[in-house]
Symmetry: D2
Subunit: 337 residues, 4 copies
């Protein structure tokens, strides 16, 4: 890291800055050039709060080298991460479709949908059991019973399953779940992330609706730096002023993330839009933009869904979508899993 001192600065302040920097485990070199001073800092730079460096009036500019996310950085780890999720391989040029209902409602429901989406080409089954809801009066999910039903569907169809965790205390229920999902609202629930860094199971991490791409990667870093290297990133829309859609799908995040990180990048067109009519168009757009997978809400009877029916597509609609997805994979060089 290089710090440039503003020419004409108060020497006492420059001195104070140097003292302050040296409180960390760093070494500092200085050189005078072009009427100003340059400082070179080496060592444990992570501990320095750079917003504070800027508080020193004498600082003209700072340059940091390297990504703040070490383990998530493609610069540091150029090879695509490939994740084994209950036998289904994710990333590394494969394209994976996750599908299923927003909420697990009953054994019949989840099994029927599972069979149906599997036939259409989905390789992983989704289903919510613990549901985070804006209103305390809305349906909160079948909880552990929902996980049991999901496991039934897994037994029946052989599909690996993914479900959302909303609190650390529920972790024991996820023993037979193949991928643990962290929802958008928990993207910065750092205690949860730390805990998930301690286990050895793939995590599907959704981007928070008000979080930048860098913050998204920093949250992945919480899990990765804990030792769990199997993180799938999932773009699901950010919050903007537009009210016609539930969120605004940040489609550019897909190719950007593919450049910044080696982790698989998925997208969820269902939550991103909240409108079933446009979910297939958005799903195709995600494939075209280079996503390694999509996560789509499918319900046999959307109007009677316990939650998020407005954004669920029918199995028929999903089947038609998957035919186009497979064709599109050919164009963008992905291998449908």
């Amino acid at each position: 890291m290089i710090i440039m001192i503003r020419s004409g600065s108060d020497p006492a302040q420059v001195c104070a800055l140097k003292e302050w920097l040296l409180k960390g485990k760093v070494t500092l070199n200085s050189v005078n050039i072009w009427g100003t001073e340059l400082l070179k800092l080496e060592g444990d730079l992570e501990q320095i709060d750079f917003s504070l460096v800027k508080k020193f009036d004498c600082v003209a500019m700072i340059t940091k080298t390297g990504d703040p996310y070490k383990f998530a950085s493609r610069h540091n780890y150029p090879e695509d991460t490939v994740i084994n999720a209950g036998g289904v391989m994710i990333g590394g040029g494969r394209f994976t479709a996750i599908a299923g209902p927003c909420s697990v409602e009953a054994e019949d429901q989840i099994c029927n949908i599972a069979h149906s989406v599997k036939k259409s080409g989905a390789s992983i089954l989704r289903g919510g059991a613990f549901k985070p809801r804006t209103s305390p009066y809305a349906f909160q999910g079948l909880k552990s019973r929902g996980i049991e039903l999901l496991i039934e569907a897994k037994k029946e169809t052989g599909m690996p399953i993914v479900s959302e965790i909303v609190d650390i205390s529920a972790l024991p229920f996820f023993d037979n779940v193949d991928i643990i999902q962290v929802g958008a609202r928990n993207m910065q629930n750092f205690e949860l992330l730390k805990e998930l860094g301690q286990i050895r199971k793939p995590i599907l991490l959704k981007r928070g609706p008000a979080n930048t791409i860098e913050e998204f990667l920093m949250s992945a870093e919480y899990i990765l730096s804990g030792g769990n290297r199997d993180v799938i990133l999932c773009e699901r829309g950010v919050r903007t002023f537009e009210t016609m859609t539930r969120n605004t799908l940040d489609i550019a995040a897909i190719p950007l993330l593919k450049k910044l990180t080696h982790l698989p990048v998925f997208a969820d067109p269902s939550h991103a839009s909240g409108i079933s009519d446009i979910v297939p168009d958005l799903a195709l757009a995600c494939v075209a933009a280079g996503a390694d997978g999509i996560m789509v809400e499918v319900h046999n009877d959307p109007v009677n869904a316990f939650s998020d029916g407005a954004q669920s597509i029918t199995p028929e609609c999903f089947d038609e979508l998957m035919r186009k997805v497979k064709a599109m994979c050919g164009i963008v060089g992905k291998k449908p899993e």
Copy 2:
């Protein structure tokens, strides 16, 4: 329009509301039901300011029927608008690629790029002559000379041309321009829109970075209601908290607009992202999402471009993109023009 009165309202206020409503050219019917009162309003409802109706405490709810945009509404005009732009047909199942440099810089430059993008499959040439720039100290375009050079390129290649207008007074320079572009910053320059409603030439209207889809359609309505029915809508990204990209491409706007309006819907992945590396991925996503066309900045020497070089792709890159675009058109049922 139906207005429901809150039960238990002050009769004097209900009376005041009715009087106020009747000042417009409307007829009012009333019925008492379920302990409350319903008002039915018919006539020239456009003149009523609905934000004011809500100021009456006695109003429980209002329902409006129909879209606020009459001519732009697909409900009112179900058939796709097909536009003839200098011989190139736009809309109605066709897919059209517009390409060219951000700024027209010199005759050689524009002609070479024109030949090149035409060969790759672009059917319309873009080039900025009047440039709106954030800084008064930045390059402001070649102005009328830029239009002349663009017309030269049109003569040489036979491609119709599109260029941006930044003020009504420049209209005479656009006589031989096939499509007049209204830039994002002028989407609500209503005086300009009114003027463009009076002419008979296709208008490519870009969405403002802070404007909703409904406002976008209302701006189209300014042109359409003036009598000019040839408006092409162009999504080019909205402003969000994400700073890695110049804007956030609202990919969902494409399929939504296709449902709400009969006008052709284009997208501009160059301005939406500001990053040439991801422009092709976004361009493909736009095709997949159902766009009727794309507008892409192509420059033979991006680093030396007079403006927006950071988001321009090379002719080679555009050529590769177009090969994928054509393949993708087959999947989504579009005919490349």
Copy 3:
């Protein structure tokens, strides 16, 4: 709730709608009027997913009556909630200043700052012990040791204390903390909110950076509906495209919340801006806008603060601020506590 059927709708669909509605614990009345049909629904309406009602094409409009937040609604509970936080009364025309460092760092530090801010007029001491940080590599707080130091400062100064909880499992450490803070990132950590609804201790709930005012009240509702009626709302800025400030303080949320709810409304100008130079101006603006209190980060040595030094003001600056705050309270009719 009233639903209006679109005239000319398919009778079979209207029938399906009615059947669907009647699956809940509701009674339904219908009347034909002006060529259309109105449905009146009574009973347990909370269970109905209104986004689904809109999926029925035959629905022209729906009106809901009442706020979705029952206990938080001023309409339902007109009187200001007054909260006793360790002997300090909050709300009901009082103005309360909470001050202290972002992080508790050492006994000396927290006690000195406590004495200082108390002298200036703060009545409650803040200090972070469990710190949610974007980077896993940044200082994560002194944790339970920080709480102990905070309790030391409470003993020394007699000031009630407030500190942030980041996970349910840490609840036992907060026995002697007077107000438990839920940070912005946890505003929709519903499991945490439910747990806090079960205890009897004031909760200071911060607004999430991407959450609407209605969602903010729904999160308060999670706590209130659990039985804990002592919730203090705290506006702390929302996320926008502006990058000069850390967040954008939604100053209008203060007077709006005062109208919508009976709960005390605070504001945090430190996190809202992230810039110590403008914190006093914003703090005064919050008082002027009608806040019941402010929460300000004060540090004796901002440059050496373990976290958020860039937004911390010095005790001297806080002292000067409080003199103005007290004068301003007189103008807006608040009694400084």
Copy 4:
């Protein structure tokens, strides 16, 4: 400007970068240090597109010195600009209230409101004649007739007047208008700004709803660099995801702008909120935050206002507000004009 070369860069690319930089009117110095190379660039740096410099892979970082806005910068011009608007002095520690209806509707209306707000303490009268409206079907203002009526009110009351211009062609109508307002939607109508830089009359420039503070200052720079140094900046809310208010008043922009520029900084709480009930609270917040003035919509009969009635306060409400404003000016060290 200093550019740091990434260590280990391709010498050919570094060479290309230097050549490219030297195409402008600049001189370049180079030094090798710490295993890397530093370039110092002097001369006409405004012409260099910095987003392009970043395209060179060999560039590790760039530092620019100085604000991009030369004439607007307080660093360059430390003294407060004081503006004479028809005899009323603005800025330099004074506080100025501008009040009046959204639209000029009739002679009686504008004169009565003028007398009333003058008595309460407003020193400048506002009134819209040319109205930019989202819908082509909404009231578009009395146009030149509105300006005439405003001039009548000026004659009657002696108050200077301010009104919005929406197109260059209307400039002749503003000869007797004391301050020309540029509305939020025209903040980046650069052709209009350039024209207003050529006249000698104060300009009140409103911030665009999607524009950053820096862009706001760059738009002021268009006027200032043209030779017109009398620019008043007016914050009026930015667009966010919150839907309860029309916009989100960026209150922090007020103290920030006061630091960045010497120009007077006003705020418009009426457009910022769109809700008359909270306009007084917001107006007071603006005073507390350090604004040099406020602009408030006042209408004798808001419900019957031709436009923006929902955000207009009554003369009685304005009178009460002004009593508090004057008291508050004492606390923040402003002299009410």
